[in-house]
Amino acid sequence: MKISENWLREFINPAADAHALAERLTLAGIEVTSVTDALPPLDRVMVGEVKSVLPHPDADKLNICQVEAGSGRLLQIVCGAPNVHAGIKAPVILPGGRLPDGSEIRKAKLRGMESEGMLCSAHELALTDDHLGLMVLPADTPVGKTLTAVLGGADKIMEIEVTPNRGDCLSVLGIARELGALYDQDLKIPDAKPIAAVIKDMLPVKVEAPEGCRAFAGRIIRDLNSRATTPLWLCERLRRSGVRPIHPVVDITQYVMLELGQPMHAYDCTHIEGGIVVRWARTGERIKLLEGSEPELDKNVLVIADHRRVLGLAGIMGGSGSAVQDGTVDIYLECAWFSPTAISGRSRRLGLQTEAGYRFERGVDLQGQLRAMERATRLLMEITGGKPGPVTVMEEPRRQPSPVRLRRARLEKLLGIAVPGNDVVRILSRLGMPPQAAADGWDVVPPGYRFDIEVEEDLVEEVGRIHGYNLIPSLQYPGSASMALLPEKRLDMRRLQETLVQRGYQEVITYSFVDPELQRRLTGQQGIALANPIAADLAEMRLSLWVGLVQTLRYNRNRQQARVRIFETGLRFILEHNDIKQENVIAGLITGPQYPLQWGLPDRPADFADLKGDVEALLALSGNLERLEVLPAPHPALHPSQSAQLWLEGTDLGWLGVLHPQIAKILDIPSAVVFELKLEPLLMGRLPHSREVSRFPPIRRDLAVVVDETVTAAQLLQAARASGGAVVQDLRIFDIYRGPGIDSRRKSVALGLILQDSSRTLTNEAADAVMAQVAERLRCELGATIRD
């Protein structure tokens, strides 16, 4: 909201400049985001009167004008504006002056004709965006005065952001009231004495929806001067408030709204049939609105209708059928109180954000209708003339709001400082809620414009903010010395993250909502859809973090990053048994060279086993690695024969595999290996328990076996471990060979065993026996032949 300092000072005039007022308001919760000059520097810009216009002899679009601008002699000015003609008044910039954009105006010859200055448009003077030719000034504007003077002089515009609970501050009056409390000064409220009716005409008013319209005031005014124009001062006030002048009647209703915060509407009386009805719209009813659209209404929309049709959307916008226009002489003024519940959300739904709707949604003064009606009538009398009729008032009986108790002790307890009693009384009185003394404090009845005062704490804030939040000291709260639990079995997630970081992964954070198409491709499923996604490709909640990781891979590949190693932790959202499961997972993706380009390691692409090593490292942290089971299983995102499902003692932990080559091709991304694991089981570790380390020397024995390709490493290891017994301290595969000397459907696997007894030194003979046992088992169980 834009507010003119000069306008504000008509209500209250503290001895402080605009910046100081802005600071004070900001620190009281009325945030002033900027203070700017209302007018650009209008150096040597005067009011001029065009006395004569002759076509330029050598240019079609130029005219030679004789202009009187107060110097006593006529200035010859060449002008190209289409709307220039003899008799109009317009701003003239004299030679030596500068336009707001900095360009200097000099005496010059234009196509051979002398030009002593320039007639200006509002756009050239940086006043508005209008490109409608010269800024035509009203006929009574005094010639020879500076434009700045006739526009009401220098002024500052404060841009104010009002929080949604403070609808009462959406007016000059409202801001003035805040300043009244801050500077402890009285307000000067403009005259709103009732204007006596001159005619008897009235329209019957029926409020059929009292829950939406608690008060309605209406008045007919006849015989307006249809030739009247909005005076310059009023146009300028509107301009300074960011409102475009349209028509004197509309401008006056806008002016009153800006000044008092009460929206009004004016109808052309001749287009109202029968009388006024305030009701809910009927489903399917339509209305053509002032801004051109014709929305279909439903029974949630409050309307103003006559006895035949809808005239306008209550509190939001009038219809074009009954709009005041050029030539209108009889009008009907409406000034009502619509409840926030009846207005809120409608303008948004219909796509109509209006100043009136904005104010009604936040709540306007319950008692402000008559004051606004009289203020508008008075301005109309001055500007357009006319014969006012009596004011019709329909009002729901008002329940006196119950007082809110403010306890002195509670005030001090909550603020942490004591505010003197007379300051409390002064502050609340200035805000329009004079408190009544009570036994332990005060009783306060909130005024009709404060919908945010409901409980004691609201009053604590009022006192606190006017007194000054920054007078509150800083104290440390000692509090209870309880200590949060620290279960040692539970791993800190930071350790998992750090492990991946040490293995060259970069953490990423991707959106929780993803592209449904990509998601379907990677999971074969449909995710939970948003009702109002911000974009079509962010429309579903992720079923897997892979969707975001693949997207990130694509993004970085498009930026020439060949080596991408990323991981993310976060929730995935899965439908399970007709319920939404929000599950914490950790997921990773690697592609490109396994190591950054370097001299000491071969440059080779990262593969399944690289990623599996990373996953095993994560499981090792919680001591769960030995219990990990890796089983081949198909997944829509993964290469059908390079895909594994991971299990931990019967619970499914997650997936690991190479991205399906077809998916990679469609997405135009390189081959990548991915994993996703549930976090909860990964974080469940155990308390370490110390065991004695054998003091006897270990023996290393190797065994090379040739087995069918179908025999898995897990089978070999399991059989070897089972047959070797307790002396097998460690068992590893250290080589796999395929090629010359080995049948093409078979492979040679080299096992390395560390044998050690915990109670005695293992003899060579005993070690040989163990190895023979292992070899025998592998031969019988897995069809292994032993290589020498």
Partner: protein, 340 residues
Amino acid sequence: MQHLDDLIREAHRRIDTSTTLVALNDVRVHYLGRKGVLTEQLKSLGALPAAERAGAGQYINDAKRLVNEALDRRKQVLEQTELDAKLTAQALDITLPGRGHEPGGLHPVTRLLARVQALFERMGFRMETGPEIEDEFHNFDALNFKLDHPARAAMDTFYLRDWPLLLRTHTSPVQIRAMLAYGAPIRVIAPGRTFRHDSDVTHTPMFHQVEGLLVDEGVSMAHLRGTLSLFLQHFFERDDLQLRFRPSYFPFVEPGAEVDIRCIFCDGGGCRICKQGGWLEVLGCGLVHPNVLRACKINPERYTGWAFGLGVERLGMLRYGISDMRMNFENDIRFLQQFR
């Protein structure tokens, strides 16, 4: 014995001029070997008269000892030289870069969250997390958002299509869950993802918040100010950091405030980042609204409390200079690797 003296002199000369261990060994064999010159001398003692024999024997043995010692000394020198040469030949180019992985890094938001969390944990706050798909009760109703309040719509909430649920607009629902679970007194912080229907340079539809909550007996605005001052001073590592409280409105606190810090870039003189105002907005806070306490079965007459909420990406802007919020979620690896 003139002859022997010459012999010894000659032996020393040959020892000192030996430059390899092999050559030195030849010298040893020549003098002290089984058929060495000095060994032969000893053997020839028998030819001497008995009276001279002992003296001559002594003399030859001394000579042998001296030669032997000289040989040992020379051997040590040559061995050291040889070792030195060998080690010199093993020189590495120690400027070659090391082998293996280069570490990746954590996301800046994770860094910031960890820092905020660590500071509050030092003050006895426990961390709580909660669901991102929330219901209206936890996200709005229990937080004193009235049904008809414009703030409810103005929050620009994401709703689910087929469920009466929404994406949490703040992490405040975690406070509700924590208060319902543990009651008062309580101190928690709730970090996490939040969602609002907004997208431009300063807004992303997803962002991160940390909310803090302290409920106990006798808690006032002064305690809120004290804790936040301490936290912000520690977070920015500026013990002269100035704060100011501006009244503001959040349905779940009353009185409510926004907290500004003196601009850390210009010390309040005015710059582009503080838009010449000299102050930077960092968080919103206030005393927990009695309706919220009541919704969480806590008696507001006995207990009072404060809550605050801060935007993590905003801290990233102030601390690391990430001015375009969208950078946080584009995940350009070159951008992310600056934060490690």
